[in-house]
Amino acid sequence: MAKQMHPTPMLDALESGPWPSFVTGLKRLAQDKDYVVDLLGQLETSYRTRKGYWKGGTVGVFGYGGGIIPRFTELKDEAGKPIFPDAAEFHTLRVMPPAGMHYNTDVLRQLCDIWERHGSGLIAFHGQSGDIMFQGATSENVQKAFDELNELGFDLGGAGPAVRTSMSCVGAARCEQSCYDEATAHRTVINSFLDDIHRPSLPYKFKFKFSGCPNDCMNSIQRADMAVIGTWRDNIRTDDALAKKWFAKHGMNELVNDVVARCPTKAIQLKEIKDLKPGASVSTVALNDTHALEIENRDCVRCMHCINVMTGALAPGKDKGATVLVGGKRTLKIGDLMGTVVVPFMKLESDEDREKLVELGQKIIDFFAENALEHERTGEMIERIGIVNFLEALEIPIDPNMVSSPRTNPYVRMDGWDDEVAKMKAAKKVA
């Protein structure tokens, strides 16, 4: 039985209503922990005054430079003493999850036990970067908690100017759209940069994210310095049986309005079976005895839409791999940036393929480390130096898939044009 609760009329208002309440959870913890009693006291104060009361500091675990988010209270009385002394320190451990965020109950219970012993008992599954966030430990207990978590097979994630914890979608484990083994790629890449995770020394943070297909369930395009998004090069696969089942259920109107008309490039056409024009780049699938869909795969931009609607009846091709985009991030300080294509396609099947992905990441991070200004992300760096300089430094060949349109502005010095054309032609001959 812990000390007496502070009155929390405002937080109490968050206990009613049907959605699970974190306040109820905290109160449950407060039954045993003075720590959480005082945490609730400070949080209630924030609710009342509409102010935050945490400040940062320096707390870490032995051997690492990052992975802990230290929090010290600023809510003090006139003598400078914490008003809620038991919650004066409330540090978070960022712990990297298994790819795809799979667990069994056994490991979850062990994580709970550790955190009940050394921390507040509050765990977030997961932070927006993917970490399991063990929220609330004193400076003293941080190392203890880490040691036990680490023994269980877990390791700290990133914080500060470091490579950060990554996320990958459920992908191959359950999803029919998966175009590569997200989990293995994720683990292989991240575990190649552990030093850059644990010992922050980059100009600023660097994030990888892995989505198995262009649905991008990991939001990688807007949030990753390097986004790896699955795709395929050959034709969309088809299954007549599932297509007929779909058509029987949904009918012609839905087919036209939801599938054909929504293809962004008009690559899909509704046809009578007798009018189908099969060809090397054409996929066809029968809807009933008379009608079929015909897809010109050279016009398809792999947006996923038709495949999403008619799952199984249409499916990504077999020649799978991934597109790599660089430079996504939030607003600071030139405005939100989406990642943009730097490698239109790479295979990701074998260990060697994945090694190439690691090498690409390494090259990008090296270039970033050497060329970014302090507190500048990859996207901002590229904006400043120009994508072409970036690509040239990385020795990545230019491809029109990297642009949504060629230049609309004549302001460029181009006396190297002929040389570039000659180089390109030579390269093509070799390939």
Binding site: L14, F22, L43, Q135, S178, T331, M338
Partner: protein, 358 residues
């Protein structure tokens, strides 16, 4: 020496997920054929070998006490097959290998207060951030605002009645750790930082702070004889970027840190290319514990979208079809000059055409 005794970390990195995979996932890894949704909250995946697995999705409060997690483990052990996973939106998924386990599992989850839903065309759980609970720079709370809003949206979480999936996010400062979303709820400061000049000299690395300001509004200055900083209030756009590196530049304000609502962020490549979200409402008070004004605007937008969008139209697709004038008409939100972009490259957001809707 204390340090000598300390345990050296095993730099194991990302753990192998194989031991945690549900057996059906492991057996059919990379070999799934299609899926359907027998009911909201349930995904049914079928593999090329004919194997099947049902995943039941339930909402959580993300920031969970150990009792809640253990309760979820109990349910997983008794009503499912002891394997769970979390989604990017902090929903939990329970996997079972036969259809008849689905209903009892759902009943047990609901009985214990875990709403089942969040799949397909529902409003899923809100991606959110730290807020007053933990962050050092928040203008508001996150978990509380999310709890209050999800209480109101729970029917939309439990059903699949939206035109397409709806992803929300909240962020407790303009940095926006919550990210682009169909509807994003974000603090927007409206006054320049108030500087505690006594502290600047000790706490802030002044050149770094000056460099951080996106509009070069900060100058080093001597205030009362001490080195401090000075803000050109005409230039300042109240972004708060100076605050993390220099806490004496207090940007948060109980009154003047307001909420803005953004719509139409879409990250998937389905149909159109990914789109940035756009600000459509602002000046909404920061009103704990339940932020009713925020919920009201979000519900207004959701209602208009639900009533008017066609199937498979994400929020951005819908507005693309009906146009912004109609969006503001249908949601009843005012369009003011502040919603016209004036930042870098703002010109691309102006209407450079005679395409007009009347």
């Amino acid at each position: 020496m204390a340090q000598a005794q300390m345990r050296r970390a095993i730099e194991s990195g990302v753990p192998d997920n194989r031991p945690f995979l549900h057996p059906k996932f492991a057996a059919n890894y990379g070999n799934w054929k299609y899926h359907d949704r027998p009911r909201p909250g349930v995904l049914h995946h079928v593999s090329h070998t004919g194997d099947e697995v049902w995943s039941v999705r339930a909402g959580t409060q993300r920031q969970m006490d150990v009792a809640t997690i253990r309760k979820l483990c109990d349910i997983a052990d008794r009503f499912a097959e002891s394997h769970v996973r979390f989604t990017i939106r902090s929903n939990i998924e329970f996997m079972v290998s036969s259809a008849d386990k689905v209903a009892p599992l759902i009943a047990e989850l609901e009985k214990n207060g875990f709403p089942v839903g969040g799949t397909g065309n529902s409003v899923s759980m809100i991606a959110h951030t730290q807020g007053w609970l933990h962050c050092d720079i928040p203008g508001t709370d996150a978990s509380g605002a999310v709890k209050a809003l999800m209480d109101e949206l729970i029917d939309e979480f439990r059903s699949e009645q939206m035109p397409n999936r709806v992803h929300l996010s909240t962020s407790c400062c303009e940095i926006n750790c919550g990210g682009q979303a169909d509807i994003a709820i974000i603090i927007q400061h409206t006054k320049p930082p108030v500087i505690n000049h006594d502290l600047v000299a000790n706490v802030c690395e002044r050149p770094a702070v000056v460099a951080r300001c996106p509009v070069a509004a900060i100058r080093p200055a001597l205030v009362n004889g001490k080195p401090s900083l000075e803000v050109d209030e005409k230039k300042c756009i109240c972004c708060g970027a100076c605050y993390p590196p220099c806490p004496p530049m207090q940007i948060n304000d109980p009154e003047h840190s307001k909420f803005a609502i953004w719509v139409g962020g879409k990250n998937s490549n389905a149909r159109a290319k990914p789109t940035f979200m756009k600000m459509v409402a602002a000046g909404i008070p920061n009103n704990p514990p339940r932020w009713p004004e925020v919920s009201a605007v979000v519900k207004q937008i959701l209602a208009a979208y639900k009533a008017d969008a066609r199937s498979w139209e994400r929020l951005s697709d819908w507005v693309e079809r009906i146009g912004w004038p109609r969006f503001f008409e249908k949601t009843g939100l005012p369009f003011t000059k502040y919603l016209i972009d004036d930042w870098r490259g703002a010109r691309v957001n102006l209407n450079a055409s005679a395409h007009i809707r009347f």
